[in-house]
């Protein structure tokens, strides 16, 4: 049995046992007050849900039993019959039988035969007397088996968030204790600190693991969305889901929900052509949309792929110039990937007409913001006429981020690895100055380089002074960051190390300074600012000479 089936079965079990408990409760209420409408409605609903779940999982006998029970409770609810006489033991017995069936699923045993129950329920719903012979016989056995606790607990995400925050504090303290134990260098302390550190780490991964859910829990909502959007747009769409069992932090999934919804609506509304257009282009009338997830090292890639008309780079280029985002001359030289990145600029939408579904003035910039807030990346690839793929690169977990630590003016700073391309150490002769901006050539691409110190020291409306090569002395330690397909080199004083950090949000009132994504505490107790690469890139673009 695959992990996913196992997980689905556990979920089914948890829900089914909960339904069973609720059914037992409600039918007892019904016995006290046979006209209790509330209890009847609940019983009908519970039977209906159990039926749907069981049928989806392929547990036919549970589905059938629940279906027949539902029919009888439906009649009771609608006042076509009353809860009296011989139907009472049959319905009580029916709920017990459901309990046995559910337990049998849990213990992976063959499901007992329920034909007798089904026949009796059929008789009741036809208004006939049920066959009660031998019905009481196995009651003793039932009593001993009725009390059953689920192996799963439901827990509010809020509680998990609290655990995660405490965990973050613990990790910071762990680093502090490890540093102290190295300084004090006492053998007993060193051993205790090492042990503590191991436990803290295991605890951290357990808490992170408890927050993971399958991407499928979000993906499974999309068939319906796609159907609705496709019918509104008058398009034929087939949706394929892949990698539903990839695990990701529940809050990350929550944050990307709207982004994913937007991308899928966009793909149907703007990406896919109408059936007629598709056939004219020699494609099958039905458009394909694939929603997939895959794990890549510590990240999760979520992709929305369509086989529609693709992004017309020339048209985006033209529009970027019209909007004044780039000069005509510069636009002509930009690589296609950089041009497509304009789609993520605020208010830059390619939709020519506003449709009910995807044209509410919300553009890809909103998607971009959501992904940025997670420290993730958003990429788009497209081949004109063949389709478009949006890729969301997401961290598996929110709280702990890989970061590169470096020093500037004797203070430590951190840069999330998610936005770090590479680190290089270059001599002054590797730079050239073009239009006041330092450039260096890396992997066949000109990358602008700026002194992080100068960038951070700018006040008010000041712009960067034109760069001069003469100011560079000796090797320059440079971190190449990457945001929205734009690479930028930041000159720092010294690289320190790579480390997992727990990012704490910037506290008020300084949370309005978007250059910093937060702070972290180092093992030394020192406060370390975490730079926000998107904001830093925007600052450079706004301030370049």
């Amino acid at each position: 049995m695959s992990n996913r089936e196992q997980e689905y079965r556990e979920l089914f079990m948890a829900e089914a046992l909960e339904y069973y408990d609720a059914m037992s409760r409600h039918i007892s209420e019904l016995e006290r007050n046979p006209a209790d409408e509330e209890a009847l409605r609940e019983l009908f609903r519970l039977m209906h849900n159990l039926k749907s779940n069981a049928r989806a999982m392929g547990y036919t006998s549970i589905g059938e039993a629940a279906h027949h029970m539902e029919t009888v409770f439906g009649q009771l609810r609608d006042g076509q019959a009353t809860f009296t006489g011989s139907m009472v033991p049959v319905l009580f017995g029916g709920i017990d039988t459901l309990g046995e069936l559910i337990r049998a699923v849990g213990e992976e045993q063959a499901l007992p035969d329920v034909q007798r129950l089904l026949d009796n329920l059929d008789r009741i719903s036809r208004g006939e007397e049920p066959d009660l012979e031998g019905e009481e016989a196995d009651d003793d056995e039932d009593v001993s088996r009725k009390l059953e606790l689920s192996d799963l607990v439901y827990i509010q995400v809020r509680k998990l968030d609290h655990l995660m925050n405490l965990m973050g504090e613990l990790i910071i303290d762990r680093d502090r204790i490890l540093t102290l134990s190295r300084e004090i260098d006492h053998p007993a302390l060193t051993t205790a600190a090492a042990h503590f550190s191991r436990i803290a780490e295991e605890l951290q991964y357990s808490v992170m693991d408890a927050r993971l859910v399958g991407v499928g829990s979000l993906f499974s909502k999309f068939p319906r969305v796609v159907r609705d959007v496709a019918s509104t747009e008058g398009k034929e769409v087939n949706l394929t889901l892949q990698g539903e069992d990839i695990q990701i932090d529940r809050n990350i999934l929550q944050i990307i929900t709207d982004a994913l919804l937007h991308l899928v609506r966009n793909a149907i509304g703007h990406g896919l052509e109408t059936a007629a257009e598709r056939e004219a282009a020699g494609k099958p009338a039905q458009g394909q949309i694939t929603l997939s997830a895959q794990a890549e090292r510590d990240d999760v890639l979520v992709q929305v792929q369509d086989d529609g008309r693709g992004i017309d780079v020339a048209s985006v280029r033209r529009k970027a110039v019209e909007r004044g985002l780039v000069t005509r001359a510069a636009a002509a030289q930009l690589p296609d990937a950089a041009v497509r990145a304009f789609l993520f600029e605020p208010g830059f939408s390619m939709a020519k007409e506003v449709t009910e579904i995807s044209g509410r003035g919300v553009g890809l910039d909103v998607v971009k913001l959501a992904i940025d807030s997670l420290g993730g990346q958003l990429r788009v690839d497209s081949v004109l006429g063949e389709g478009t793929t949006f890729t969301l690169v997401l961290p598996t977990s929110i709280a702990v981020k890989g970061a590169l630590l470096f020093e500037l003016d004797e203070r430590s700073y951190a840069l999330p690895l998610m936005h770090t391309d590479s680190v290089v150490s270059l001599l002054p002769d590797r730079f050239s100055v073009v239009g006041g901006v330092l450039l260096t050539r890396l992997q066949g691409e000109n990358v602008p380089v700026v002194s992080l110190r100068e960038l951070l020291q700018l006040e008010g409306d000041q712009v960067l002074a034109p760069a001069r090569k003469a100011t560079l002395h000796g090797r320059q330690d440079i971190i190449i960051v990457n945001y929205n397909n734009r690479r930028l080199g930041l000159i720092v004083d010294r690289f320190l190390r790579q480390q997992d950090i727990v990012v704490k949000a910037m506290s008020k009132p300084l949370d309005t300074i978007d250059l910093f994504g937060g702070v972290t505490l180092l093992g030394s107790g020192q406060v370390c600012l975490v730079l926000d690469v998107p904001a830093l890139t925007r600052l450079f673009l706004a301030k370049r000479p």
Binding site: G460, M506, S507, L510, F516
Partner: protein, 169 residues
């Protein structure tokens, strides 16, 4: 009149934390002060006005630390020079939904004053650098004059960030 006598009879004591800024004494109601501590190591935040000294780690909480002498230009030139040498104290003050640190150079002292000793701000105080809207009143205790500040008004985000250049967008 008996009525007015009755009204003045209960004169509740108000607990202040008194500290020096420049040459003057200032006070804050004690319930606004969370704790007083030796100033922890402060990390300077780029892109903030210079009176915002930076952020510090106060028992795991990251708080913003401000220097009110600098904010209101109360520091004498001679004192500026010795600033680096002297060690300072930080009062952690509970603003509306965050805690903020205020640096002072001498240990702040508690002081009880009767409510009646706090007078409404006279107009002349506007000559001082602290704008009167932050001043709750003036307390006269013997020959001491203590300016009672309303920290909650003083430490709103917009007040703290008012000198910041708008962030580049």
């Amino acid at each position: 009149m008996p009525n007015s006598e009755k009204a003045t009879a209960p004169d509740p004591l108000i607990q202040l934390i008194v500290f020096r800024l420049g040459q003057e004494e200032y006070g804050i109601r004690i319930e606004q002060v969370k704790e007083v501590t030796l100033t922890p190591e402060i990390a300077r935040m780029p892109k903030t006005p210079s009176f915002v000294k930076g952020i510090a780690n106060l028992r795991g909480d990251i708080i913003t630390v401000v220097d009110l002498e600098e904010r209101f230009q109360l520091r004498e030139a001679a004192e500026v020079a010795e600033e680096a040498a002297a060690h300072t104290y930080t009062m952690a003050i509970e603003a509306k939904d965050y805690t903020i640190g205020v640096v002072v150079r001498e240990v702040p002292q508690p002081l009880s004053v009767p409510q009646s000793a706090i007078e409404q701000t006279p107009d002349f105080i506007q000559e001082a650098n602290i704008h009167d809207k932050y001043i709750e009143g003036i307390a006269r205790v013997g020959d001491r004059i203590i300016v009672v500040l309303d920290m909650l008004k003083l430490l709103t985000p917009s007040e703290i960030m008012q000198l910041t250049a708008p962030a580049a967008s």
